[in-house]
Amino acid sequence: MGKLNVNLCGIELSNPVIPASGTFGYGYEFAELYDINELGTFSFKGTTKDPRFGNPTPRIAECTAGMINAVGLQNPGVEKVISEELPKLKACFHKPVMANVSGFSVEDYAYTCEKLDKEEQVGWLEVNVSCPNVHGGGMSFGTQPEAAAEVTRAVKAVTTKPVIIKLSPNVTDIVSIAKACEDAGADGISLINTLLGMRINLRTRKPVIANKMGGFSGSAIFPVAVRMVYQVANAVKIPVVGMGGVSSAEDVIEMMIAGATAVEVGAANLVNPYICRDIIRDLPEVMAQYHINSLEEIIGGVK
């Protein structure tokens, strides 16, 4: 059997499959369905300094081969995540977890990351500078190289664990932003977050989503994600975590050949809650089909 393990920023993963933030809660709900220790790791629900209810409903819209969400970073806030969610997670997940963090100011990001960095189970900090669903924060940091670099520097200054900056695809030049984060000390880059999208109800002529716009995800965005992962992986020396529409073992392999060291799976979890486990189980056979002995060997191997 081929080797599935990869090394992400100095931490060994038994396989490269990582449920993406916002599609896997804080893990324990999926632990009722299968042993989530089968996963490489997972990125938990985006956490902010203060509790957030998020946007009004409807927050979800169906699309061809995908969906739009405008949840708006609903989460109980970092204090409660540490006091209530992480203990529940610890009972069912025994590997380092990826802590996903969002903010509305540079100070917010630093505050939340500093707190989570001290948690034993946190392996990596995934810093989301790319949420399209909150006004005045999130994505505005991810759309300009200098702003993304400023968040990176501020977080690196108060943390000891690997910092992965999660980038938005809703930009003109993704490479310049990735490089700015690398220069500012980022240990890795993850991409892509959702694409800004919108649907309109023909009968009411109103947007389907109360927030009007939201993040488009699902298998439809996979080619965009492969392209951006390829561009960024070729421009930076730090590891890249690829995501966007991944829903099969073949997609994982394609994303790794494009340059991803590990691969996150997002919207597909919402349709098939067993998808990550299924992908991990399918990987050896698909690897054999394409004569792959070790996943580490294919990273960035596009010809």
Partner: protein
């Protein structure tokens, strides 16, 4: 929650737009009336949540209204076809609070989840009254089914073409009851909230992403904190409901 493959045993029209689908499969994850299932359909990305009308150890009955692409596709399915379904979703109705004479109020396509609830309450020896509200006579379904169970059934129509003219609340005002259970459009739920003189439970709808608590797509605020309609709901107790508009 359980993911499994069900076989369609029958699928028939009850009215112009309401269908009844009976499926065979593993229903072991369903624990209470008022829960729902989430169905994967061809060419559609998200599953479609449908409330459980009735179930036993090996069959599942869904009564659904055609309102969009998903339910339209369901209506074209025939016996023998298979469906990938997540079962046992949501909290369902709490039957321990019903008292001796509960009343069940259903509005339009909100009627189905009350069927298994009525069955279970009757089995507990309760005296069950049912008020079914529709716009007009041609939309009525399940009146006989509830009668056959042994419920006292009142049908209301907005246009007066059948039964009591008015809304379900028109009939509710003339009734004595110990507790209420309801499912229907939000204006109806609000009217019942105001009209009812006892406590009760209401089943809510919201556009969902996953249907099992992962995406936070269907959150709502309540007097007892934020809840996910798909996980801590869809049934809420009257005392915890916070009307936002």
């Amino acid at each position: 929650m359980k993911q499994s493959i069900f076989s369609i045993l029958s699928n028939e029209a009850l009215t112009d737009s309401v269908y009844k689908m009976v499926l065979g499969g593993d229903t072991s994850a369903i624990t209470a009336p008022g829960q729902f299932v989430n169905i994967l359909l061809d060419g559609l990305y998200l599953r479609r949540p449908i409330s459980v009308c009735d179930y036993d150890e090996s069959t599942l009955t869904l009564v659904y209204k055609v309102v969009g692409k998903g339910t339209e596709q369901m209506s074209r399915k025939t016996a023998g076809e298979k469906l990938d379904i997540l079962t046992g979703l949501g909290n369902g109705y709490d039957m321990t609070l019903s008292g001796d004479r509960p009343v069940l109020l259903g509005g339009g396509v909100g009627v189905p989840p009350l069927y298994n609830l009525a069955k279970k309450l009757l089995a507990q020896g309760k005296l069950v009254s049912v008020i079914l509200g529709f716009n007009t006579k041609s939309e009525i379904f399940y009146e006989e089914e509830f009668q056959k169970l042994g419920c006292a059934v009142t049908v209301t129509t907005v246009d007066g073409s059948y039964g009591t003219q008015g809304f379900v609340t028109t009939a509710l005002e003339a009734m004595e009851y110990t507790y209420f259970y309801t499912c229907g459009p939000e204006p109806m739920l609000k009217a019942i909230y105001k009209t009812s003189n006892t406590s009760g439970q209401m089943s809510f709808e919201e556009r969902m992403g996953c249907g099992f608590g992962a995406c936070m797509g269907c959150s709502c605020k309540t007097l007892t904190g934020n809840k996910r309609i798909c996980k801590e709901g869809p049934v809420m107790k009257k005392e915890e409901i916070l009307w936002e508009s």
